[in-house]
Amino acid sequence: MKKILSIILLVLILAGASASLVFAQDTFPTDDDVNKIAKQLYCPVCESTPLDVCPTEACRQWREVIRTMLTEGKSEAEIKQHFATQYGIRVLNVPPNPWLTYFVPGVVILIGAVMLFRGFQLWKKPLVAEPVSDKDEAEQVQQDEYLAKMEAELKRRK
């Protein structure tokens, strides 16, 4: 009984494997499948232009490599790894360890936020604050006008 079950299991595994092989060989990847991965890659020559839209011949050949690898049944991660190994990690649109990329600005922003909060606490009056009334503002404007008039008067008397 055990033997029969083992044979059935083996047959099922083989059937599954062959089915996936057939799928890998028969399903020809579309341009969209290729571009989905190409979008995440940059060729070292055409920096800042993602591979999916780069018009150069070299980039067209890279896209064909992606197509071939997809046809061979390679996964997205495997394809990206292939290009990173071949041409360096700069071909990836995000560094392989993205945490470091986010960590530094995150810490700086946090420090800024803490400083701002601390600043609020220091600036804030301990007692109930006097709101700035429209009257105060009006007085300030009047004072500015007064100063301007005085200066004009002084200029005139020179």
């Binding site: 940059y42 993602p50 649109n93 986010y102 600005p105 609020f120 804030k124 008039k149």
Partner: protein, 686 residues
């Protein structure tokens, strides 16, 4: 001979600029008004001198003087005259000269203002403006001479400023031609706008430094430079928008912003400039944040220099960095010196810059503006880190990394959302003091309506959570801004008995800064709608088709008809143009013509999309590839970019808003002088 003349005038400009610096310092130290006046006139002279230099270069460009290296590199016989003129800023040496020329124009404008009330600022404004100008002119004189000529020596053909011994002048038959990407109308205007923005930020910085040096640390420098800053902001914004439009039209990636390091370099001074524009209001209203405002304008200035350096030096290779040269260390040195000197001045004047009042509420307008500044600076930190991280990685690990759009989008997305939220609530908070109760009372109605709009969007359009958050915030800001407008206009209507439209017009005219600012907020919301549309709902597909085949995408059917290729010999271009028919739900909408242009002189391609544009979306078709022999098949890449036109429409409104905010008032000084004259005339008549 003509090139030598141009170089000679350039050298004279450099010497005059240096003289202006020394005369201003000498005049200030020796208290000699005559020397300061001499420095002012020298600064005024730089503009005609540099105009003459630029005129000489343009003459050489237009008349095909290929013996001049710069002319050879950026023009060709097949280029039309207007492109030969604009090639002035198409290469490194020319663009540095262009920077200096614009700077001299702004410096001259500054010298023409009425200095009666600010005489003590004058020598230091001259010093800062002329040191900056001398740095750029010096780059041209010593490193990037646009008038260097090609000479044949034993070592081959090389550019020289002066003719070497045993050499003959070498004149190529034709030039290499301008990079095709730079021949687009957007690119013709984009660099001047960007540079205008860059250069105009030098003026507020010069006044800030003058305030620090003289110890006149009240808000006078801010009041003088407020409009300069707004115009600088306008030019920089317009430059960025034009750059985005150019990318959309000619780079063929279906988008407007690629988070390219050089785009970011131009964006960073915009961020600090925007923070500064908000922060100065706190100083004007409440006498606070004086240190911070100084720091912001210093940062903006140095980011402007940094941006120019990145754009022109090619230190970070990108689509924008067309040239490489050895001027990088000098730029870094200049940035370092100006930064250290400026910060040292702030420290020196630390006590004098103390706040006049205290923060009284965490919900007051000034507190929210401060939070707004934190968010802008946070976006700056993300951008700056994204630009320098690859360099740091290369420096320490020897391996360069790429920091692409996903990083920026993820890192800045929440910050932009928080900024939108602040834009929604800040106009409703009061200067000095606001409480949860007062703010809540003002805010609840717009919040309820914004929630209702968001629910409607959820029911009828999308359940994308990011889109819903985004549209809620956009709705909130739009409602609050419109409500503020309506409240003001209604109050005028009641008090003055004006028609609502007249009240609206007068309201804007009486307080241009405030209501211009609200128009800017409205425009940003329109832009946000466009950005949300294209970023969250863009669809794309690619396929290879033969004549009569169709590709379906987002309700559109694109049917390929044919492709044709021909040479335009006078223009030196080969065009390959596809014709596709466009249908939507079975209805014929018209045909599009995506094409590829190949420029013979520079041996470069340009991908021009066929674009059908509506307020709902853009159908953007690119010709990726085609079969050259049979010409019956082609590979098309098609994007559907929802709502993207709202972005461009918002940009136009933005410019209107800034123009209103920056429009000059009647100068009270002039009014006073005029009144004074009238008084004298009346007295004389009596």
């Amino acid at each position: 001979m003509i090139a030598d003349f141009g170089f000679g005038v350039l050298v004279v400009s450099f010497l005059v600029t240096l003289y202006s610096v020394f005369a201003a310092i000498y005049g200030e130290v020796k208290k000699s008004a005559a020397m300061v006046e001499s420095a002012r006139r020298a600064m005024l002279l730089t503009w005609p001198l540099l105009t003459l230099t630029a005129g000489t270069l343009i003459y050489l460009l237009v008349n095909n003087h290929y013996e001049v290296q710069f002319v050879y590199e950026v023009t060709s016989r097949s280029m039309p005259t207007y492109l030969k003129v604009t090639a002035w800023w198409g290469g490194q040496a020319g663009s540095l000269l262009f920077w200096s020329w614009l700077m001299s124009a702004f410096a001259s404008l500054v010298t023409l203002r009425n200095w009666d009330r600010d005489r003590e600022f004058l020598p230091w404004v001259i010093v800062v403006a002329c040191v900056t100008m001398a740095f750029f002119i010096g780059m041209n004189v010593f490193f990037e001479n646009p008038f260097a000529q090609l000479y044949q020596t034993f070592d081959g053909i090389n550019p020289f400023t002066f003719q070497p011994a045993d050499s003959i002048l070498f004149t190529p038959q034709d030039g290499r031609g301008l990079n095709p990407l730079l021949r687009h109308p957007g690119m013709v205007i984009h660099p001047p706008m960007l540079y205008l923005g860059f250069v105009s930020f030098v003026i507020p910085y010069a006044f800030a430094m003058a305030a620090l040096i003289t110890g006149r640390t009240d808000d006078r420098w801010i009041r003088i430079t407020r409009r300069w800053t707004l115009w600088a902001w306008l030019f920089l914004t317009f430059g960025l928008v034009l750059g985005g439009r150019w990318a959309y039209d000619v780079l063929g990636w279906g988008g407007y912003w690629g988070w390219d390091p050089v785009e970011i370099a131009a964006f960073m001074p915009w961020l600090t400039g925007t923070a500064f524009l908000h922060s100065v209001m706190i100083q004007e209203k409440r006498g606070m944040m004086k240190h911070w405002n100084m720091l912001l304008i210093i940062l903006t200035y140095d980011l402007v220099i940094f941006g120019t350096f990145l754009t022109r030096s090619g230190v970070l290779s990108s689509v924008h960095a067309f040239a490489q040269s050895a001027i990088g260390p000098l730029f870094f040195g200049f940035i370092g010196i100006t930064l250290i000197t400026s910060v040292a001045l702030i420290i020196y004047r630390w006590a004098a810059l103390k706040s006049e009042t205290e923060m009284t509420s965490m919900l007051s307008r000034e507190a929210l503006f401060l939070l707004n500044n934190l968010l802008f600076m946070s976006i700056l930190v993300v951008c700056f880190w994204g630009v320098i991280y690859p360099l740091i990685s290369e420096l320490f690990t020897g391996e360069k990394v790429t920091v692409g759009p996903p990083f920026y989008e993820r890192a800045t997305g929440p910050l932009w959302a928080a900024l939108l939220f602040l834009m929604g609530i800040a106009p409703l908070s009061a200067w000095g003091h606001s409480t949860v109760k007062t703010l809540g009372r003002a805010l609840w109605k717009p919040v309820v309506v914004a929630i209702a709009i968001t629910i409607a969007i959820y029911v009828y359009f999308t359940n994308n959570i990011y889109a819903l958050i985004g549209f809620f915030l956009v709705a909130l800001v739009l409602l609050v801004t419109i409500y503020e407008y309506w409240r003001g206009a209604y109050a005028r209507q009641r008090s003055q008995g004006e028609n609502i439209f007249v009240a609206f017009w007068n309201l804007t005219g009486r307080n241009r800064r405030r209501y211009g600012g609200y128009i800017i907020h409205l425009s940003i919301m329109l832009m946000a709608i466009g950005i949300l549309g294209i970023e969250l709902f863009q669809k794309e597909t690619q396929g290879t088709v033969t004549a009569g085949d169709s590709i379906d995408i987002a309700g559109y059917t694109v049917t390929y008809r044919e492709v044709a290729s021909w040479d335009d010999t006078p223009k030196g271009v080969n065009y390959t143009r596809a014709v596709v028919d466009v249908y939507q739900n079975g209805i014929y909408l018209g045909e599009l013509h995506p094409r590829k242009d190949f420029y013979f002189d520079s041996q470069q391609n340009m991908t021009i999309p066929g674009n059908r544009s509506t307020m709902k979306d853009d159908l953007y078709v690119l010709l990726v590839d085609w079969q050259p022999i049979s010409a019956d098949g082609a590979t098309l890449k098609i994007y559907v970019n929802p709502l993207v036109n709202w972005l461009w429409m918002g940009s136009l409104l933005f410019i209107i808003g800034i123009t209103i905010a920056a429009w000059p008032d009647k100068d009270p000084e002039h009014v006073t002088v005029r009144a004074d004259r009238q008084l004298k005339q009346t007295s004389a008549a009596d």
